[in-house]
Amino acid sequence: MDLKEWFASRQKRKELQENIKLPLTTEDYCALWTQCFQCRELLYTKDLRANLQVCPKCQYHFRVGALDRIDQIADPGSFVELDAEMTSADPLNFFDTEAYAKRQKEACRKSGLKEAVLTGICAIDSQPVALGAMDFGHFGGSMGSVVGEKVTRLAEEATNNKIPLIVVSSSGGARMQEGILSLMQMAKTSSALKSYHEAGGLYISILAEPTFGGVTASFAMLGDLVIAEPGARIGFAGRRVIEQTIRQKLPADFQTAEYLLKHGQVDMVVERARLKEVLSRLVSFHDVNQAGKNAADANGAGENNRNGAVKSEQLAK
């Protein structure tokens, strides 16, 4: 599907029209100075943001909010949000030391977001993609019904429009306050990805600091390609739980992106500065309209690779 077509068809959809939020801006919660978690350098917050939240001294990758993440990946002005108004219910009437309803309000106030994931359609170097970005700053990026539903709908949107799907995960896991329903979101999102997979889709999962629990054990680990950000901590069980269970000290790099790469769990670790470029090339390399089709349709190699942006210069030399 052509990006222009998509934008045209979108115009007809009333509920989407109401939700257009362009351009993306948000009040920053950071103060004037930020100290680097890793090298302890004091950084001017504005410079840090300009450097994609990467410490210029030690390359420590700070967490990125969903809005900033989208800005870093999507072509400027191209992101059109889906399901922007979806909010959590409280199916269990959950109360621990505080009511879930109250905690939800508090989370929204702190993050400036309605939920822990933003989803939408955008362009990457003019190639249309379905993009989701989680925000750890909202309720620890936990997956309740809304995260599950929005990711599921995004996968369905990608299936219907035959466009690549990219989700940036950053989450502490399932949202306990929604009980068994939050667990079921793991199966719901995975099921939607299964249908997307069989339709020949390309799903690139990006694992950002931190990704754990039910999110890792569902859509985050189901990418056709899986990319991790440098230094990001990624796993199923938390480090402390494991240490308590096995009564053994864990290696220092345990559950880091680099550890996962060494243990064959991610395709690549990509520094944030190169992320958009890599995504763009991966998207252009895989023709999602080709997948499942007969190779004979392509009438030879050139045609078969008409989406290929990467050209071998070496061979021509």
């Binding site: 399901d83 108004e85 979806m86 909010t87 959590s88 219910a89 409280d90 199916p91 269990l92 959950f94 109360f95 621990d96 030391t97 019904s145 809304v146 599950g148 539903e149 599921t152 399932a174 306990m176 929604e178 009980g179 068994i180 329903l181 939050s182 667990l183 079921m184 979101q185 793991m186 199966a187 719901k188 995975s190 099921s191 939607a192 990805l193 299964k194 249908s195 997979h197 629990g213 039910g214 890792t216 054990a217 569902s218 859509f219 985050a220 680990m221 189901l222 796993g235 199923f236 069980a237 938390g238 739980v241 494991i242 269970t245 096995i246 864990l250 345990f254 559950q255 243990h263 769990q265």
Partner: protein, 323 residues
């Protein structure tokens, strides 16, 4: 019946009952010397029966949890062999491990050939250790997946029995990508074109349970529990206190009846009074009948319908508001 019952280890909330039982026993021993005691014994026995009934209808969530975790509760292997003495176990993930916490094989239940898979806790200390207390490793989930694919190939319906505290939080489990193993099962189960019936027979612990729980029909035994996190984990995170486990049990709505009310499962199967551990045979018969009934109705659907049925079921889960 009474003699079988006596061997059963009472739970904490069953103490009043145990005390009464001891009193009855004491009186019975004196009965030879003093025949007048018979009336007292009868009265106590009546009291015992009343208490027993009222006790088991007013169970708190934490009591269900205790029954679900009772070490004499029937485990997957018990059910399989009670249902089919010729159950043929199939081992291994073909890639280096045979996880004893995940048992699977070829089962004939009520005349239906099926592939059965279940988590396994083990009863003796040695068994428990071999089974890692019912906590599978990635290799266990991959073994299950291999059997699911085997079933799909031959059109054999799948039965899964769930009784696990959860996937094992260990070093090599993370190294071998526990998360991916679970996710892949969710993904592949969604696409199967044979009927899948899942039963929570004891503890349904989080993602480690769900990894064999993406089914067309989900049943829970009366005293089983199913939750997104262990009550201990929930209490420690939300209340920062290990004393608040009963509150966590309450708050999470993890009992069979509550989960049924939330619309996540299809049926609650009655257990023998006091719990399945009081009568393995009866528990197996009740559960077996329910499974066969569900399987028979599912086997009427076409392969495509079966898959759509399962995917639609999970598609609907969630509670949210749109503007």
């Amino acid at each position: 019946m009474a003699s079988t019952e006596k061997k059963i280890v009472p739970l904490e909330f069953e103490q009043p009952l145990a005390v009464l039982a001891q009193q009855i026993e004491a009186l019975e021993r004196q009965l030879g010397d003093n025949p007048d005691l018979e009336g007292d014994i009868d009265r106590l026995q009546e009291q015992y029966n009343l208490l027993k009934k009222s006790l088991y209808v007013n169970l708190r969530p934490i009591d269900h949890l205790a029954i679900a975790r009772h070490s004499q509760r029937p485990y997957s292997r018990d059910y399989f062999s009670l249902w089919d003495p010729q159950f043929m176990e199939l081992h291994g993930d073909r890639k280096g491990a045979d996880d004893a916490a995940m048992v699977g094989g070829l089962l004939n239940l009520g005349g239906i050939n099926m592939v059965a898979v279940g988590t396994q806790k083990g009863r003796s200390i040695k068994e428990k250790q071999a089974c890692n207390f019912g906590m599978p490793q990635p290799e266990g989930y991959r073994k299950a997946l291999r059997l699911f694919k085997h079933a799909d190939k031959y059109g054999l319906p799948i039965l899964t029995l769930i009784d696990t505290p959860g996937a094992y939080p260990g070093l090599s489990a993370e190294e071998h990508n526990q998360a991916q193993a679970i996710a892949e099962n969710l993904f592949e189960l969604a696409g199967l074109r044979v009927p899948v019936v899942a039963v929570v027979t004891g503890e349904g612990g989080s993602g480690g349970a769900l990894a064999i729980g993406v089914a067309n029909r989900i049943l829970m035994l009366e005293h089983s529990v199913y939750s997104v996190i262990s009550p201990e984990g929930c209490a420690s995170i939300l209340w920062r206190s290990n004393d608040k486990v009963p509150d966590a049990c309450q708050a999470m709505k993890m009992t069979a009846r509550e989960i049924l009310q939330l619309g996540v499962i299809d049926e609650v199967i009655d257990e023998p009074l006091g719990g399945a551990h009081h009568d393995h045979q009866l528990a197996a018969r009740n559960l077996g009948e329910a499974i066969v009934r569900q399987m028979k109705s599912l086997l009427k659907m076409s392969k495509d319908e079966i898959r759509i049925d399962r995917q639609s079921k999970f598609r609907a889960f969630g509670a949210f508001a749109e503007n």
